[in-house]
C-alpha cells in the first residue's frame, strides 16, 4: 500500500522543526501554542506512519484519539491562562509571566 516510510519521516522531521523553530523564536504566547500544535501534529503523523508500517493501525488510531483529546484539554487550559494573563498584564509577551508573584 504505502511504502514511502523514509519520505514520510523526512517530512515529519521538517514539520517538527517548523514547530520547534516557532517556539524558540517567538515571544508571543499564542505563537508558542501554535508551535506546540505543529509539533504535536508531526508526532501524530509519526505514530500513524509507524502504525501502518507495523500493521497495527488499530492501536495507532486508539493512541491518536487519546492524543487528540489531551491536546484539546492542553490548548483550552493554555489559552484560558493566556487570556487571564492578558487581562492582568495587558500583554501577551512571554516575559510578562516573569512579573508574577506567588
Amino acid at each position: 500500500m504505502i511504502n514511502s516510510f523514509s519520505t514520510d519521516w523526512y517530512f515529519i522531521t521538517l514539520i517538527f522543526f517548523a514547530g520547534l523553530y516557532c517556539m524558540l523564536v517567538s515571544r508571543s504566547l499564542l505563537r508558542q501554542f501554535i508551535g506546540l500544535e505543529i509539533m504535536s501534529k508531526s508526532c501524530l503523523l509519526g505514530v500513524i506512519s509507524v502504525g501502518a508500517k507495523t500493521g497495527s493501525l488499530a492501536l495507532a488510531q486508539a493512541l491518536i484519539i487519546t492524543m487528540i483529546v489531551i491536546e484539546v484539554v492542553v490548548v483550552a487550559a493554555g489559552l484560558s491562562l493566556l487570556v487571564k494573563n492578558y487581562r492582568i498584564t495587558n500583554s501577551t509577551d512571554i516575559w510578562s509571566l516573569d512579573n508574577l508573584r506567588g
Binding site: 516510510f5 523514509s6 519520505t7 514520510d8 519521516w9 523526512y10 517530512f11 522531521t13 521538517l14 514539520i15 522543526f17 517548523a18 514547530g19 523553530y21 523564536v25 517567538s26 515571544r27 508571543s28 499564542l30 501554542f33 501554535i34 500544535e37 505543529i38 501524530l44 503523523l45 500513524i48 502504525g51 501502518a52 507495523t54 500493521g55 497495527s56 493501525l57 488499530a58 492501536l59 495507532a60 488510531q61 486508539a62 491518536i64 484519539i65 487519546t66 487528540i68 483529546v69 489531551i70 491536546e71 484539546v72 484539554v73 492542553v74 490548548v75 483550552a76 487550559a77 489559552l79 493566556l82 487570556v83 487571564k84 492578558y86 495587558n90 500583554s91 501577551t92 509577551d93 512571554i94
Partner: protein
Amino acid sequence: MTYHTLLFLLVAVAAVAAVMARNLLLSALMLALVSVGASLILFDFQAPWAAVFELSVCAGLITVLFVSAVSLIRHEAGAAENRARFYAMPLVMGIVAIAAWFYAVPYFEALENWARLGARPVSLGTVIWNIRRFDLLGQVSMLAAGVFVVNSIFPRRKKQK
C-alpha cells in the same frame, strides 16, 4: 510524486506559513489547514476514525479556540517580536531540509528494516474498550481537569460592594 507525498508537502508548507504569518488570525487559519492536511493523510493511511477525530476536533474546535483567543487580545498588545528571525525561517528550513535529506533519510531507511509486524490485526473497538481501557480513565480525568482549570481561571462574577 504521489498523492501521499503531496499531502505531506501541503502540511509542511502550511506549517511554515503558520509560523511565518504576521497576522495571528492567519496563523490560526494556517494551523487549521495543517490539521486538515493531517486528517487527509490519516484517511490515506486507512485510519478513518482518527481522521474524523482530527478533522472535527483539531481543525474545528481548536481553530475556534484559537480564533476566540485572538479576538480577545488586541493586536498591538502582542509582543514586539524580532521579525528578522521569522524572515530567516525559509533559509533555516532549507538548510535543515538539505541536511535531513543527507543525514536523516538513511537513518530512517535503516529504521524501516527494523520494523516488525504487529501481533495480529484487531479492530479499533477491541483496542479502545479491551486492550487500552485504562487510557479511557486517563482521558476522562484529563477532560475533567481541563474543565476544572477553565472554571477556576474564569470564576463566576460576584457582586462587588
